[in-house]
Subunit: 283 residues, 4 copies
């Protein structure tokens, strides 16, 4: 397994797509060296976007979380989240009625600006759900799991409405040794119980990469996919999705995929990054 310095790779590209968790930050804060990397990118005229399956907060709040840690280069317009795709879907396909959601008030940002009425699953009375036209899985907090996940199951059994999942992840790290179940894991359980097909947004799905690509090209970014690099810490979301979309891919070993297991995981999964770097830090 050959480890390549990130600097020698990134200078061959005009645009970089970064995963967030495990690449830019972890449970302790920013990953060491990340601020210098973003200064380096700026100095070298390399554009960048953050592509994240995190729909728990809107792009503005996500950007603030970097700014607060001193990484001022990541502004709202640089962030592409799976919540933005869900928003796009609802705008095109659910034009009236009420949209129910599982998540915090903060996560509901994505759907509240659409004009349709929204209601938290926590506030929903199943016997008065006639107007509900879609159910959106946004975040694992903001509702009572026992009562409200059961309510989601019965809502979908009673009414034939689309169910939209804004995060394909099943869990996310909350400390060095602990994870929490993500809304993607809960949605999968509900999907199996009701036996219906949910609509999922997030990596590795192509739609996530296209949304970022079009966003980038729309802002004057390079259109040649051969000049775009995808950087991630997870083989089956970041690298699989990047490869399939035709981008060159870098696996970093600063998150989900630890150095001692990287080669084994690549061989076992058949998901092959073009490069492997310790992290995105630049010497």
């Amino acid at each position: 397994m050959q480890i390549t310095p990130f600097q020698s790779i990134v200078t061959q590209y005009k645009t970089v797509f970064f995963d967030a968790f495990g690449v830019l930050k972890n449970h302790k804060g920013l990953i060491p060296g990340v601020s210098d990397t973003f200064k380096f990118l700026k100095e070298n005229g390399i554009d960048y976007f953050i592509i994240t399956n995190d729909a728990s907060r809107g792009p503005k709040e996500l950007a603030n979380s970097y700014t607060q840690q001193g990484l001022t280069e990541i502004t709202q317009s640089k962030i592409i989240s799976s919540g933005m795709l869900a928003r796009e879907y609802l705008k095109l396909k659910v034009k009236q009625g009420t949209v129910a959601y599982l998540g915090t008030a903060q996560s509901a940002h994505y759907i509240e600006t659409l004009g349709t009425k929204t209601i938290s699953i926590a506030d929903l009375d199943l016997t008065k759900a006639d107007e509900v036209n879609a159910l959106v899985f946004l975040d694992d907090e903001g509702f009572d799991w026992y009562h409200d996940i059961n309510k989601a199951v019965n809502l979908l059994r009673t009414k034939n409405i689309p169910a939209i999942v804004c995060n394909t992840d099943k869990s996310y790290p909350v400390s060095k040794h602990e994870v929490a179940i993500a809304i993607g894991g809960i949605a999968e359980m509900v999907e199996k119980i009701v036996g219906k097909k949910f609509i999922r947004f997030g990596k590795p799905d192509a739609q996530m990469f296209i949304f970022a690509y079009e966003h980038s090209v729309g802002k004057g970014g390079v259109a040649d996919k051969g000049q775009i690099l995808m950087v991630g810490d997870t083989l089956d979301t970041d690298i699989l999705g990047g490869n399939k979309f035709g981008l060159d891919t870098v696996l970093v070993l600063s998150g989900n995929t630890i150095p001692t297991q990287a080669q084994m995981k690549i061989t076992a999964s058949g998901i092959i990054p073009d490069y492997i770097c310790d992290s995105i830090a630049i010497d």
Copy 2:
């Protein structure tokens, strides 16, 4: 689709295995005619056992629930539940340490009589989990879903211990139109997240039928499988499991499988009962 009267079928057999929910009772209580059927069985010297995936209560409490409704023929010794298999497994394979469980105090009956220490997941302190040697999924109540399901995930990530599931069902009916997520559904979500193989007990698994069969034969019941009839309302647990074990099978239309969909479900699944009856009522 030919409907046969239950009476004309059951008299051809010496022992009958009944599923409980949808066959003997539903959310409103006993299914009409069930009491007469059990009198008929007694008069005709036909033996019977109840085979249930319900591990929320012990056999004694399960039997009481029938007695209270006037069905005195179903005593404790007539009930075979998936919890009894989990108990057997723990007795043979987990001889020391502490067994943690998800469920009510009532469901813990199955594991508390074993001699090993037990602890509810609600009372478990993850930082002091050194002595925990197994995790058992018993019932969907008795713990806080948000905190305690996440605790179960992290316990299984930290410690390589067996996880045992006492109910293969993903949901169960609580009223005419509503269901609740069963512990089997929760266990499947946790299994996917931690990526490990859980040990499951319950129909359609053969072990459930063998346990009942040996129990029956041990009490003097008939050993010839050709003289045992399995009666259930669900194709992919009762009928699939009964068929695979070599028993003749009856699908009743008084529960999960409703008359208008029975033929379609049989054709779609390829799970073929030997007979179809409206219910086990006898004219």
Copy 3:
């Protein structure tokens, strides 16, 4: 279930994406009325594209098959097949070495024009496979199933190379009552056996719709997704994919989804078309 005449729907859109099998043709040839529909589209200035998971032939051969049946409106440039996405992937990600494939010489069209060497799995000598850098599943014919599917398994076990699947379908109709296993079904079996993640192209994947969308917009087609209609006969490819991409969708009852089962399948799957039509014929 409300059936709407196709004519009253299609006139509300500027571009239509059609699935091929079950919508335009079936095992007997063109579906009645289809020629008139394409004349109607032309007269009314409505643009159209055919989006198909069929990678057994190139767009030119696919177009010829319509022309031979008298449907001259469907030219090569109107056809988007999943093979074109695989071609794009290989062009961007597999720049050297040899590409091995399962399929006929005809299906190899997609990969032969790339400049890299290609070899049919039937001609591959596993002991001399050092130069093989990718394996592509194109078509279910053109090789010996016993020897060559086993060869594919061993190639992927020995060499860590990407496996690309150009057809997500598991089977396809060959007569009124018979189907044949499609290359997508074979690829799924191989994927399970080798335990690796394959790269799949075809509906319902978003990439298929985006490819068609960009192709259409590139030729001057409408960019507003709200003015594009997707028409298909299969809920879990055509309608699910179209919905997720934000298009309005029509389910036609002239193929996979037969009139007596349509409502049941929509309710069971939760995949909801915006409209249902008997076929695309115009009165």
Copy 4:
């Protein structure tokens, strides 16, 4: 990971269940030391049975294959194969008509002695399949994969009959570096395509262990499960099944699970053997 000598373990038990491939033999023949082990078992009055998912030959032919290699202790009565369970099922549940099968004439041994008519899928004319009452997947050889697997799909689509699979394995080793697709892998593909539930016999399913257990007890073997040891080289069949049935389990490193990956696989899967041995050889 603690490696224990097999001798010190086995002497604590009265009966041993052995998996065949990877434990007793591999592609080169008998595993070194195996003959001495069986002499040791005999001298010490420890009973033994071979439990195998191999249904390609009957118990007599399987026993012969050991005798020819000098291991005369393994006689026909010591072998329990998944084919024997399928035979039992057919005897109890398919009493008339014709049983069609995929496999060699040799594998058909299991079903030919039942009295019902049998026909190889290779000889089946789909238009004259009215009498076929079951389809059995026995072995991956003896038929033309292209024509006959497609025939199996169409038979199951046309007629609602049970499909029985006599081998749960998806592949099997044919040389040091090559595997072949097993009939279990083919059956799974067919099952997915026709969308029906097949009946599977083989480890890790409990029925396989119970069949062996009853066979052993019937011949005077020990009934206390605590005195029976299961020995296998594969975690998710031999060890998972043995554990679930309540037996103590030994993982040997002479087959599927190689020494450098054993600990990793145990941790990743959560399938925990009671002991680990290099092989069953005795010093």
